[in-house]
Amino acid sequence: MKTLTHLILACTLLFSAVIAQAESFKLGITSATARGQYALLEEWRDYLQIKLDHPVEFVFRDSYLELLDLMKQKKLDFAWVSSPAYLENEQKMSLLVTPVYKGHPFDHAYLIVPATDQRTQSLFNLKNKVFAYVDPDSSTGYLDPKHQLKLAGKNPERFFKKAFFTRDEQKIVAAVAIGLADAGSMSGFAWDTLALSRPDITAQTRVVSKSAAYGFPPVIVRNTLSQTDSRKMQRVLLDMKNDVDGLKLLQRLNIEGFILADKKLYEGVQRMMIHMGDL
């Protein structure tokens, strides 16, 4: 009888473990957001698992597009994506939280050139140069410079001699620093964060201009996920700044915390996208 009880218990545990494995929350992150801090992200995942009392899995992909595809296939529950990536799919996804950086939920686009280039004063000096973008779905690393060119009446596809994507914010800095690209556009938050850990690399570049404020890349959730799970994750993320361990992680991520995301934050990007014909 005792043996049978043990057997049933073991089976139950095994089953629940399988269920738990199958139902883990999957959060998608692009390499642009990860910026190579995989150890830190793992600690964050462990933190989330404890707080949620639920398994959490981080899924890494190179581009926002890939994350969105996974979400549509329900292989992802949450994703930390760029605002254009969200805006393009807002029927199927909802905003969950937005990070706060330097007291605001905003980021800026930085136009950077090699430190040796002291002549470039604006984007418009870079005609027929080689330009580095981050990702086609990035507001700061793609949309903003293209939008500026269009506003100035220039054809963004032909303005540069050559443009390419690095898929990673840090690699924009590298591409510009070594001279592969004559200039690049990237997240100001990413540049500032890199400047804290590797000032030697950022010192090889010069920030020519900073754009207007754009809503910080948000964490979104697929609409098909249950409200309970969605709320649960939202609560844990919002509470991170109230928790010693959470606060430490936030500091290392170089953000101050998460706030409830408001669609209004992304109206600027949305207008820009409409103007560019992307929406």
Binding site: V130, K162, F164, F165, R167, G179, L180
Partner: protein
């Protein structure tokens, strides 16, 4: 040069050998180093081309998708990986089919979209190679005056080319690699020298030593007799061995010749002495006979005083002594005598044996005569007695004396040996002269008489040192032809 050529073979042979070895090793080393140079070139080319091939496929995909950054990351990683291996990658470029740079690991030196041929003399030359190169294979180009070498790999698939990968290597890696390999070659050369040079020196010395020994002895010839050559010094029958044999033959001939000359001189001297002695003896004998007859007559005169008698007697004794001496000097072997019979030999033995009793000598006697020999018995007995008495006198106490008498080749051979004091060459050379004595009590006429008899019978007498410290006198007298 002449100083070198005048050097002894002891130095010349090893020096020539060493020179040849050093030249051979240097030539071998130079060949090895030359090969190493080409091998290093080949190895570096293979390494670089391998690197090119390994990148080709992933670069093709990146270029196909116009993913400049990925292409850049691929070549950057390869250049860093390449730098840690044997090949030192300085730059990797990807050019399009119009020979314009698309990606470079050194964008500042070789910026994107720059024309390859305008990037300096080297690249201008490379552009030429790239445009001429129709194969999908990689090739490595060594430009003679360049500090770099280049491998070019077409980035193509199914004959569709998207561009060319150019890997720029510094030749700086070349010299250390070459030096490392060349050093190994030189080390082997040095080891060979270390083994061969001492061996050559030893062998050269060994080759030259017999020659040097021979030359030194040849130089002594004519001044003094050289020391004997060690027969084990050179045992082979090559030219040097033949030279040794010829030298020994020459030396023997010279010694024989000198010995013969000395014998002739000696015989001549003894003959002259004999003639002189005989002449004087005859001259003395004539007046002596008269004087002796007068003395004899005078002796029988009774009216002489006792003093006169005494004086006459004194003169007579003196004259008799002169007569004896002269008779001894005047050896006349022409007197007729009966033939020598075996009994004569036994008589002599009987006569001599008591004389040896005092010394307790061991006398070995061997006479093989069975019949009469047609030689005068008186003189042969005289010879035997003289030789045996001398031998007994010379022999040590409890020593040995041996006597062999034999007939060989129609000659009577008498050989007498003793173990007494050995005579030196100086003594031997004067042995047969009259009044030459080496023992107390001898008058020095015994061997003189023997010599005279032997000579007059047409024979020879010789003295030699036998093994075991024995002196041997051998007399050979030819038997008269019947």
């Amino acid at each position: 040069m002449k100083i070198f050529l005048n050097l002894s073979y002891r130095y010349k042979i090893p020096l020539w050998g060493s020179l040849l070895i050093i030249i051979s090793v240097l030539i071998a080393s130079a060949t090895f180093i030359g090969n190493t140079y080409h091998q290093v070139e080949k190895d570096l080319a293979i390494d670089s081309e391998k690197l090119g091939y390994s990148l080709k496929s992933s670069l093709y995909n990146a270029l196909l998708q116009d993913d400049i950054w990925r292409a850049f990351e691929i070549v950057t990683e390869a250049s860093q990986r390449g730098s840690s291996s044997m090949v030192l990658v300085e730059n990797i470029l990807i050019i399009d089919n119009n020979q314009r740079v698309i990606v470079s690991t050194q964008p500042r030196q070789t910026p994107m979209f720059s024309e390859l041929k305008q990037l300096g003399a080297d690249f201008s030359e490379i552009t030429h190679h790239v445009t001429q190169w129709n194969s999908e294979q990689a090739q490595t180009i060594y430009l003679p005056d360049s500090k770099h070498y280049y491998s070019i790999t077409p980035i193509s698939r199914d004959h569709t080319s998207l561009g060319t990968l150019i890997i720029v290597h510094s030749k700086d890696v070349f010299l250390p690699l070459f030096a490392k390999n060349a050093r190994n070659g030189l080390l082997v050369g040095a080891i060979i020298l270390m083994i061969l040079l001492p061996f050559n020196w030893y062998w050269g010395q060994r080759m030259a030593f017999p020659l040097v020994q021979l030359a030194a002895r040849m130089a002594q010839l004519g001044k003094k007799w050289p020391d004997d050559l060690d027969p084990n010094l050179y045992e082979y029958h090559d030219e040097l061995g033949l030279l040794y044999e010829a030298y020994n033959q020459l030396l023997n001939d010279l010694k024989t010749k000198e010995s013969l000359e000395m014998q002739i001189v000696k015989s001549d001297r003894l003959a002259a002495l004999g003639q002189l002695a005989a002449g004087i003896a005859h001259e003395i004998n004539n007046p002596l006979s008269g004087m002796l007859m007068s003395i004899d007559t005078l002796k029988y005169h009774t009216d002489t005083s006792p003093l006169t008698q005494k004086t006459i007697s004194l003169i007579e004794r003196g004259l008799m002594q002169i007569k004896d001496t002269v008779a001894a000097l005047l050896v006349e072997a022409t007197t007729k005598s009966r033939n020598l019979a075996p009994l004569d030999i036994e008589d002599v033995l009987k006569l001599i044996t008591p004389m040896s009793g005092k010394k307790n000598l061991h006398i070995t006697w061997h006479a093989s005569l069975t019949d009469e020999v047609p030689l005068p018995s008186t003189f042969i007995r005289q010879i035997l007695i003289n030789l045996l008495m001398n031998a007994i006198k010379a022999a040590a106490v409890q020593g040995e004396v041996s006597c062999d008498i034999d007939i060989q080749d129609a000659k009577l051979i008498i050989s007498v040996s003793n173990d007494g004091n050995m005579l030196n060459p100086e003594q031997i050379s004067h042995l047969f002269e009259p009044f030459c004595t080496f023992s107390e009590g001898g008058h020095g006429l015994g061997l003189w008489v023997t010599y005279q008899i032997v000579t007059q019978l047409g024979g020879t007498i010789s003295v030699k040192k036998e093994p075991h410290e024995h002196m041997n006198f051998t007399v050979k007298i030819p038997l008269p032809a019947v």
